[in-house]
Amino acid sequence: MIRVQREDFDVGRELAALTAGDRSIGGVAIFVGLVREMVRGPRGEEPISAMTLEHYPGMTEKQLAAVEAEAQRRWPLARSLIVHRHGRLEPGEQIVLVACASSHREAALAACHFLIDWLKTKAPFWKLEEADSATRWVEARSEDDQAVERWGKALPSTTRSVGEG
């Protein structure tokens, strides 16, 4: 299941809903992304007061559903969940939740890792940071591109970027 929302989420409640009624589940791997206060700025590490997540409504849901389907295809998952927030968030706030439930612990852990790596490079979100009453768009990180490459070939119909053509 995927959700794109402004509202915060409660990980305990999401976990209970995800696993409810399925007693084949032996493990749930979860990743929660938070807004960091210190970020890489033009003059090294510096604090931000907030960030705003812009997204592309419609495409976001389509891409998240595609990466979730890919995870379900690659690993034997009983259930999975992606919740991604948009709008203005302050340091310490939750941004994203990925949860993968499986009878097999390895499948849950690998699928969760895969989903957060893919999200970082495929989901159409953009972060605008506020620092010292100025704002700046966050640059994509080459580490994130490298992290996603470990998972092998991307889905041809949904994930090619311009530069790869």
Partner: protein, 83 residues
């Protein structure tokens, strides 16, 4: 043809979306970007560095040789930074 802009592409162009009718000679993404640059100095600035742009046609990532046609929803944006 519906054009959508996000993040700094949006702020540079000065709007989040617009309806445009490029000439029939515009057949793919590369042709569309070249034509869009000529629409205003703001478009030219936003689209100056093609290596920093990503394009989606009808909400799927595409390469520059992907065809475009009337009725498509075409989004232009920087590399994504979510998660």
């Amino acid at each position: 043809m519906r054009l959508l802009y996000f993040a700094w592409v949006r702020t540079k162009v000065g709007k989040g979306s617009e309806e445009l009718d490029p000439p029939a000679t515009v057949e793919d993404v590369a042709g569309l970007l070249a034509w869009l640059k000529q629409q205003s100095p703001r478009h030219a600035d936003a689209l100056a560095d093609l290596a920093r742009l990503r394009v989606a046609v009808n909400q799927d990532y595409v390469t520059f040789d992907h065809p475009v046609k009337p009725g498509d929803e075409i989004a232009i944006f920087p590399p994504v930074t979510g998660g």
